[in-house]
Symmetry: D2
């Protein structure tokens, strides 16, 4: 089960070593300009991730299969697909018995009865997030006027991210990071109390990104250590601006027009070069496991744009839903 959204709806498909991966994006209003070039910037951010990321060449050329006519969304479902090119066969089948720590080898076997595709982690692979990034590009087009800004605010607990990643790579290890997304220019009025709270939908989407351990808004976990007199964040002018935006742009589940501030904790890359212990379920004993190939020292470098895309998807859906139920002052 692999879809998100009530009106702006995204469904991901594909496996790491399959033919293609991609996304179906439904509920996009007609008339929105959309060209293959529009995907390039975000795909490039996902591909490179900056220093410390794997040089693996992925096939990241979007193919708009449907839903676009003469350069604009036509109102029918948009299918964007990516061919899987340089898949390197590996002995992934052994991971069914000797699961890699931090991966889904064990849970996918339980869940799918041994029928899931193990190659390159199959449908669990980070490769599938290329479709999520593509859907995020469309989502941002719907959110005309909103400005997204995403950065890595710390890695390994340090603000010098580059140094933390290099040190981890040098140690044949990996390192976690905190990704922060800020969205400026959102209107007030997106979201509703309880189950369609802005935070609920945004967190839902962000936790769909592999490797997320936590999501917070505004003051986040720091709010738990604060007094009300510190945390309360009064409005200070007629535009609805608040003093310090400690709520991260949301009150009562509804955006208040201030900057939306979301932070996500990204775990260290699970695959590392150093040998690791794990249980061998066939032999019934602990064993040492070495995972070959090249590994990202810090997946957050690449998942930053994926997180941003997830947030955009949730906001696009909230935006269309808000249009549907706008008040009717008869």
């Amino acid at each position: 089960m692999n879809r998100f959204g009530r009106i702006f709806r995204v469904e991901l498909f594909g496996e790491s070593h399959g033919k293609e991966v991609g996304a179906i994006i439904d509920g996009c209003p007609a008339g929105i300009p959309l060209a293959p070039e529009d995907f390039e910037a975000d795909l490039a951010r996902r591909r490179s991730g900056g220093a410390g990321t794997t040089p693996r060449r992925e096939y990241d050329i979007p193919r708009i299969v449907s839903g676009v006519y003469r350069g604009r969304s036509s109102g029918s479902p948009i299918c964007v697909s990516f061919s899987n090119g340089d898949t390197v066969p590996g002995d992934y089948e052994r991971f069914a018995d000797v699961p890699r720590p931090g991966h889904a080898d064990f849970t996918s076997r339980v869940k799918y009865g041994g029928y899931s595709d193990p190659h390159g982690s199959g449908h669990f692979s980070g490769r599938i997030t290329v479709g999520l990034v593509a859907a995020g590009v469309v989502a941002k087009k719907i959110l005309a006027g909103a400005d997204f800004s995403t950065s890595i605010v710390s890695a390994g607990g340090q603000s010098d991210v580059g140094a933390a990643v290099e040190a981890a790579a040098a140690a044949e290890d990996s390192v976690g990071a905190v990704v922060e997304t800020r969205v400026r220019g959102l209107p007030a009025g997106l979201g509703e109390p309880f189950f369609d709270a802005c935070e609920s939908l945004v967190a839902h989407a962000v936790f769909a990104v592999p490797g997320i351990r936590g999501v917070e808004f505004g003051d986040g976990f720091r709010a738990a250590a604060m007094r009300g007199s510190q945390h309360n964040d009064p409005f200070v002018d007629a535009s609805g601006k608040t003093a310090r935006n400690g709520s991260g742009g949301v009150n009562g589940g509804i955006t208040n027009g201030n900057e939306l501030v979301v932070r996500a904790a990204v775990k260290p890359t699970s695959s590392i070069a150093a040998p690791q212990s794990t249980f061998d379920f066939q032999r019934g004993e602990m064993t040492q496991l070495v995972i070959g190939g090249r590994h990202d020292a810090c997946i957050a470098l690449r998942s930053a744009v994926v997180i941003e895309a997830a947030i955009a998807i949730a906001l696009a859906d909230l935006s269309l839903a808000a249009a549907a139920t706008a008040p009717r002052p008869l």
Copy 2:
């Protein structure tokens, strides 16, 4: 828009000072024993919240309106309703122009065009969570074998929660807290990669609880400061037990049979006795606001069981969904 769940579905209704608040719970299998007494323990936890909470007497007697026959779920939608008894009228309408910091006074006006019920915060009130707790009771019945344990692990940054709350109350202030829920006895196999990840659905439900600023699983935000070699959490025996459960019971969006560990950051109560600044939208200037009545010094004391209920609701839905799509080894 106020419902949650694909199979086990919960919809909340009511306003703080309206006639009734409650929940409709649909998709509950028939045959599950359910009596009004079953709700009492969790309702009592929500009501009292221990020391530091408001002595306000709420009407917390559940009325099972439908869906139960001869003490068991009948398969039709379960409606549980609670009368609103001792509502005290107050001058809530002024908050439309002079919004209380941290409340939804401003956003509800924007969202609903001034038509929402302001009394006692209307549908935004914590009162509505009584229906959420009721739905959680039903959810836990579906999750036979799962054992929930919820505690407040810190308040105001201190592990001595009682002291922190008392100090805040003495200062006419309030204080935030971290609530941790542990669920033992969940089967492996709940959840799916991407948008139906266990974390996605659990976080979605938890952020529906008023006042949540962050949600994390297992190592949570600490994972962002860790190396992969520390964070990776190997399986250590044939049952699927991991060494230290740093992933909080989930790999690849799917429960792995270890304890599910969820923490939520709860903000300090927004209503405090001390005077606060806010903007007067009618006069166009800053003003001082005093919010009368008695206030909880730490809403986390009462929202702990609400968070637990939200988690149970998400897990019940995941559990029924897993039954629907169990592998078919033909």
Copy 3:
């Protein structure tokens, strides 16, 4: 599982002999005038059904539990509830073993394992449609400008409906009928091709009404006997009017601005006074069954307004969805 709608959402609850029956209506825009009196006309149509219907006095006084403030929808879920008053106990439990022909006695036992409430047919009762009618009233308010007209165009194959019903009643029998609803003033543009076709959603809702055997649009089943040259229905003026509206107001799943024309086949009332054969599952043999009490000779008289309500609910949802995804000619 008992809800309908993507944006305008309706969920029904209650059992025939339970405490209350009603509906939760979510996704209704704020600001729409709504008073208990607004429900009266449609409830009266459902109650009386004109000549030939049971004189049973039902408690049809709507109680607006939530979602309305100062006479207008507030944006939060609307709960409308009806007390069950004059329920007459009967020996309904024997029907578990000796199922009434045409009723759900057998299927409810299979489906719900014997846990469903049998009294007055429980959640399968026509009584539950009172909530559906209430939801239809709200739906029509959303469809400002649309004019609904519903009539019984035949009963027992005759156009003189009154005579057919009286003859059936005199024979201790019942009779089926065709109900036709026409909706004038709908805008063009509601619905989408394939699964959100206007016909798909309307038929979905109408078949939720108990006792429906068929649903057709425009020429309906007569179209199957026509030539294309007869059936094709050209546009004849700039407003989009067609020559004879054979498509019933829909092309390609989307309303075309002409009158929506829906007909539903309603079966004869299953409960009749005359003795009937059925299988006694306990004794393993055929038996004679007499169903006591008073029976409607033609349920279509009462279900006409229920069908109209179902159509209105589907159209309200389509209308809000169309607002959400209106083209964006940037």
Copy 4:
């Protein structure tokens, strides 16, 4: 908006003259054998449609893009895609101003603001049903033990279908038909009262097939002309068999284990060779329109298998939902 299903979910994509058309099928249990050959029989039925159908060669070779591993469903979304090969360019753009009777030229322009792809009717084309047929093949695999049988029971009001189609073709005209699907071997217990009634979901799916004017179950519209004593259909043995299956296999929205009997009225093909009148919206006057190319004399010949697929999709979803909420006799 173009998806169907709560657990077994189908989403269609593509345009007639676009690159590809296809379906994403999510919620399919893992372990089900699935090979490209499995699609061939139903695709052939759709392609040929028997006598009277267009000889146009469509590219009907299914490409399983994802979701199948080593010949079995893997649990991840199944994408099945078909290349569009022999598209013939035509002057479809004029239909925006001069809409073809019976087509969606007018409504698509209103709905999508002129941005939809007009070529070959774009996303409104019958070509898109190839994905629906593919999804139906998967659905039937889930419904192990169910046996589908679909036939055309009349065309142009005659039981000699071949003669009716030939006569229409000879007259440069087209003809409508009634398609009947019977499903044997379904278990009792699929569906629920009200909005998830078996008839509601089946009719929803069938009306998604282009050109459907009516859907009926069992006695269908004939029930409206019957007395209760005729129509009521007693159980006659311990298996739950009824005397004549007048309800078409459903009581109270739930399958009763008898054959499911569904009939659909299919309109005559809208495109005919003979000249037709229509309104020219640019010139503001009536005009004569000749639609070139070859046309099916009776689309029902080809849509029969599409209707069967739609029914299978609805039943597969009902089947998985029933597994999720099976009674729990604790």
